[in-house]
């Protein structure tokens, strides 16, 4: 085949012929087996090098690569990981061992105002105490306690310190009062143990709780429960 003929074939397969030239070429093609083979071969080569096809292949490959990378961190697995972490976290939160300090916090309740209900002429004013305003209660009771060291004042003052998170000051107050043999002895023991736990003096706290446990007062069951949890 002549070299010029091949250029004609390429123009034919690339659609670069005019109408008349194309008609003549088609007529020749329909009767020339050799030309048919040449056209077929040229089409194959054109298919291999066709720039549009090469560009299309590149685009498809890019889409495949992009999706492969995306799959590497698929949203499903990302969501699954987050859910798993939340579950583990929640499980840990529910089953976690409660720290002794938190336990003391859970058991801490203000000592009830038995004075106001018993007598309208009480020596101390528990108005702020009953409102949960422990800062003002302390301001009011501290001078009274300093002057009298009176157990009732000491109890409400100590409990107020505990309630506002000042365990050390509470313990100092409790230790200044001698309640042995009085009706408030067990009350002081209970609040002292809570203060001691908050101050991480667990042995001393447990010693006092053991005393309460053996007693048949209101604190006996609470002390027993707290001891079992502290163990």
């Amino acid at each position: 085949m002549k070299m010029e003929e091949e250029e004609e074939i390429v123009r034919f397969i690339n659609g670069q012929m005019g109408e008349e030239e194309r008609r003549v070429f088609n007529a020749k093609l329909s009767t020339d087996a050799n030309l048919q083979e040449q056209v077929a071969q040229s089409r194959r080569i054109r298919n291999v090098v066709d720039q549009e096809t090469v560009a299309f292949e590149d685009t498809v490959r890019a889409v495949i690569e992009k999706n492969r990378r995306r799959k590497a961190v698929s949203p499903f697995w990302l969501a699954a990981c987050i859910v798993a972490m939340l579950l583990v976290g929640s499980l840990y939160y529910v089953l976690r061992p409660t720290s002794p300090v938190l336990l003391a916090e859970q058991y801490l309740e203000p000592y009830p105002d038995v004075l106001t209900s018993r007598s309208a002429e009480s020596s101390i004013d528990l108005t702020f105490y009953n409102k949960g305003d422990y800062r003002r209660t302390i301001a009011l009771l501290q001078p009274l306690f300093n002057a009298s060291k009176e157990p009732v004042t000491g109890l409400y003052l100590g409990v107020s310190y505990l309630m506002q998170g000042s365990a050390e000051e509470a313990l100092t107050i409790f230790q200044q009062v001698d309640t042995k043999g009085t009706v408030l002895e067990k009350d002081f023991l209970w609040y002292q143990s809570l203060a001691l736990i908050k101050l991480r003096q667990f042995d001393a706290a447990m010693e006092k709780l053991e005393i309460l446990k053996k007693d048949s007062t209101y604190y006996s069951k609470k002390a027993s429960n707290l001891l079992s949890k502290l163990d």
């Binding site: 070299m3 091949e6 250029e7 071969q41 194959r44 080569i45 298919n47 066709d50 498809v60 495949i64």
Partner: protein
């Protein structure tokens, strides 16, 4: 509409076709002795085959484009399995919802693609200069342009080189065992 987008090589359409077709193709290929990488190659080849065919103005489909591509991909993989003597577990007709007419087009398209693949493989065996000159020539560049781009002495030399390169490619193809098998089929 989709065919028109395909003819233009629309990237959004390719993304859509990937989402619609690839999970199924991947699952099917992997069920039939293939790997994820082979599934990707099959998807790409199927899409390119349909892209090439879509340039033919008379090309029409009686089914969804994604269904057709799915069919081409499956048939392509089956053909490759046979040539590699690997086992096929699934019947081709089982999951492909195409008409007889489209099934016939797929058959023809696969045969055409396999011949193209032989040409492509042997084209890569040519020298870089041969690949460049054939690429320019068959993409319709004028000889003068080829002379300039390739830094050749004159158009006569360019024609001679192109002629020799093409003959070398045709020789390689005709000696390719797969081509012989395809021609005898």
């Amino acid at each position: 509409m989709e065919l028109e987008q395909l003819r233009k090589g629309d990237k959004k359409l390719i993304e859509t076709l990937y989402k619609e077709c690839f999970p199924g193709i991947s699952s099917w290929v992997m069920k039939n002795s293939g790997t994820q990488k082979e599934a990707e190659d099959v998807f790409q080849d199927a899409l390119v085959a349909v892209f090439k065919r879509s340039k033919d103005a008379s090309f029409e489909l009686n089914c969804k484009l994604s269904t057709f591509i799915f069919g081409v991909a499956k048939k392509t993989w089956l053909y490759r399995l046979r040539t590699r003597d690997r086992h096929v577990f699934t019947d081709f007709t089982q999951d492909v919802d195409v008409s007889d007419q489209d099934g016939l087009i797929i058959e023809q398209l696969i045969d055409e693609e396999e011949v193209d693949a032989v040409y492509k493989r042997n084209f890569r065996k040519l020298t870089t200069q041969c690949q460049q000159i054939l690429s320019l020539f068959f993409n319709g560049h004028a000889m003068k342009e080829i002379v300039t781009k390739m830094g050749l002495a004159n158009a006569g030399l360019a024609r001679k080189k192109k002629f020799n390169c093409k003959n070398e490619l045709v020789r390689l193809v005709k000696e390719d065992p797969l081509y012989i098998e395809l021609v005898e089929k």
